[in-house]
């Protein structure tokens, strides 16, 4: 496990050796910052005056904070494939994978190490995003339960994106193919959600299988064990597939 974490730290550090991680973080923060500003503007100039006199007016957490997390999840549909595409595909393309394969490491250690590296990046993304609601504490009080559950939900959502991306990256030696197929898979799950919600013949099964149906309760501050388990199963499933793929590579080459 210690060595897995070491691989993870090294991966994390290497992301910042190239401009990739910097520019991704910068663009994410810029776009989400603008969105945040828009929602705030709307809340202050429209929602608050209109509902101030009602008995139970909606708070800033529900109107501004939760949508920001939802949008972050949606944007990461496109961003996560770019971060995960390199993990194995680039190592294959540059023939550097044999460094790890020759070292006294098991496939499990290699896969967990790589995954740990991308998890560190996800933590950073969520931490940077959480700075925005935190900035509101100077002027108002937040519903901390919702902020925490939204953060946890986003962490789980992005971790599941990463697990899928890690697996698809292990299948190919072309990072672009890994990115495109990861995006395809993630978007397919969104389409499942949309088709499940259609008026005509929506199916509960489709909704249940999709990512976002398990993410939305977190944004309302509802913490369902079944939602957490969905993500954990998703993650563990793809990690096991990746480990199997690496083992299989040695046999089939």
């Amino acid at each position: 496990m210690k060595k897995g974490m070491m691989i993870g730290f090294s991966e994390f550090k290497r992301m910042f050796n190239t401009p990739l991680a910097w520019s991704v973080l910068a663009v994410l923060q810029f776009v989400l910052g603008l969105l945040f500003l828009t929602f705030m503007e709307e809340f202050i100039s429209v929602v608050q005056p209109a509902t101030a006199t009602s008995a139970n007016p909606p708070g800033v957490t529900g109107i501004v904070v939760a949508p920001i997390y939802l949008w972050a999840g949606i944007i990461m549909l496109a961003v996560m494939p770019i971060m995960t595409m390199r993990l194995f595909a680039e190592e294959r393309m540059n023939k550097t994978l044999s460094l790890l394969l020759t070292s006294p490491l098991s496939s499990t250690q290699i896969v967990l190490g790589k995954y740990f590296g991308i998890l560190l990046f996800i933590f950073l993304v969520v931490a940077l995003l959480t700075l925005m609601p935190l900035a509101l504490t100077t002027g108002t009080t937040l519903d901390w339960g919702v902020v925490l559950s939204s953060s946890l939900g986003l962490l789980l959502l992005l971790s599941s994106f990463a697990a899928a991306g890690l697996f698809l990256s292990s299948l190919t030696s072309q990072p672009i193919i890994a990115a495109v197929s990861t995006f395809g898979l993630l978007f397919f799950l969104v389409v499942l959600y949309l088709s499940g919600n259609t008026q005509s013949n929506g199916s509960e099964v489709f909704i249940y299988l999709s990512h976002f149906s398990h993410f939305l309760p977190f944004l309302e501050g509802v913490l369902n064990t079944s939602d957490v388990v969905y993500y954990l199963l998703f993650i563990v499933g793809f990690l096991i597939l990746t480990i199997r793929k690496l083992d299989n590579d040695r046999v089939l080459g």
Partner: protein, 331 residues
């Protein structure tokens, strides 16, 4: 890890490797003793790289066993892999790291304790002469330096066995000499397997050579034994003046063992004898006849000839194989 001196460091027996239908390595056996430098030779696509990948656990053999310093590579891969340093055809270096960062990372992958890390890294940097580039990005280094970082990575953890796949490709002549020296040095207290296309390199650094063709070992011998076999019975003579073949035939009548005269270009002839000949008699003969001897040389069977004989004879017959070989290189 008690490596007794008598036991072989690598014992690979009956290795087979298929890529789909293609039988890349056939019943391959290899024994490597401590302190031995083994040269692995063969044309492109002969199965050298596949063999090396199997010995380092990068791919697993379709059948066969590999024992590395007493550890079974297939059953206890972690312990076996601790004994190995491997430089693949393309150095496995991360282009976005500096050599110093990279070697520290490798040191931790190979369980080198933090206390010893600095000295191990420094030692590898010194041995591969990387001092001047330790803080530059590997991606910005020349091919030769990248190769040397790759070699540094392979010897960093002081493995019992160092496996190098074409280590001198892309190096300048001075570096080549240095790397060969390094390989010889490694051969003193480690064992080395080296694959290369450069035949003089094998002669310069290896104790033993194993030639592979179409996945099979076609030649395996030590250089001392090779030297004994080398004195062949062919002699090349060259003359100042043009000498007719029939004249030569006549003049050489006294040599009972003469088998065949083959004219070569520039008044030169190859004389094949059936038994060892006293070369000085040819010299005296040429002086008597006033032919003006310019060349008198025993045709030795060099490694190059052995290689050509073994590999080239069936090249024409195996043209369709080339496409298979290519796919093997790709996969």
């Amino acid at each position: 890890m008690s490596a007794s001196h008598t036991r072989a460091l690598i014992e690979a027996s009956n290795l087979n490797r298929y890529y789909g239908e293609y039988h890349a390595v056939k019943n391959f056996n290899l024994i490597l003793k401590k302190g031995e430098v083994l040269g692995l030779l063969g044309p492109n696509g002969a199965g050298k790289s596949s063999t090396m990948q199997m010995l380092t656990g990068n791919i697993s053999p379709s059948s066969g066993t590999i024992i590395i310093n007493g550890f079974n590579l297939l059953e206890g891969p972690k312990q076996a892999k601790r004994q190995i340093g491997y430089l693949p055809e393309q150095p496995p270096v991360y282009r976005d790291m500096t050599p110093l960062e990279f070697l520290k990372y490798c040191a931790s992958l190979h369980d080198i304790p933090p206390a010893k890390m600095q000295s191990a890294v420094n030692d590898a940097i010194e041995r591969c002469v990387l001092q001047s580039v330790t803080h530059k990005l590997i991606g910005n280094l020349s091919k030769g330096y990248q190769q040397r970082v790759g070699i540094a990575q392979a010897i960093l953890h002081q493995p019992e066995i160092v496996i190098l796949d074409e280590p001198t490709v892309g190096l300048d002549p001075i570096q080549i000499t240095k790397i060969r020296q390094l390989i010889r040095e490694l051969g003193n207290d480690h064992s080395v397997i080296l694959s290369t296309h450069i035949l003089p390199e094998v002669q310069a650094v290896c104790d033993r050579v194993q030639i592979i063709n179409h996945g099979e070992t076609v030649f395996s011998d030590s250089f001392t034994q090779l030297a004994q076999k080398q004195s062949s019975n062919s002699i090349v003579v060259g003359f100042e003046k043009s000498v007719a073949e029939s004249d030569l035939q006549q003049a050489l009548g006294q040599f009972k063992a003469l088998d065949k005269i083959t004219p070569l270009e520039n008044h030169r002839f190859q004389l094949d004898f059936t038994a060892p000949t006293e070369t000085h008699l040819l010299y005296t003969l040429a002086v008597e006849k006033g032919w003006g001897l310019t060349e008198l040389k025993r045709q030795e069977e060099t490694l190059e000839q052995i290689f050509m004989n073994l590999v080239h004879t069936d090249n024409a017959a195996n043209q369709p194989q080339i496409s298979d070989n290519l796919t093997e290189q790709v996969s």
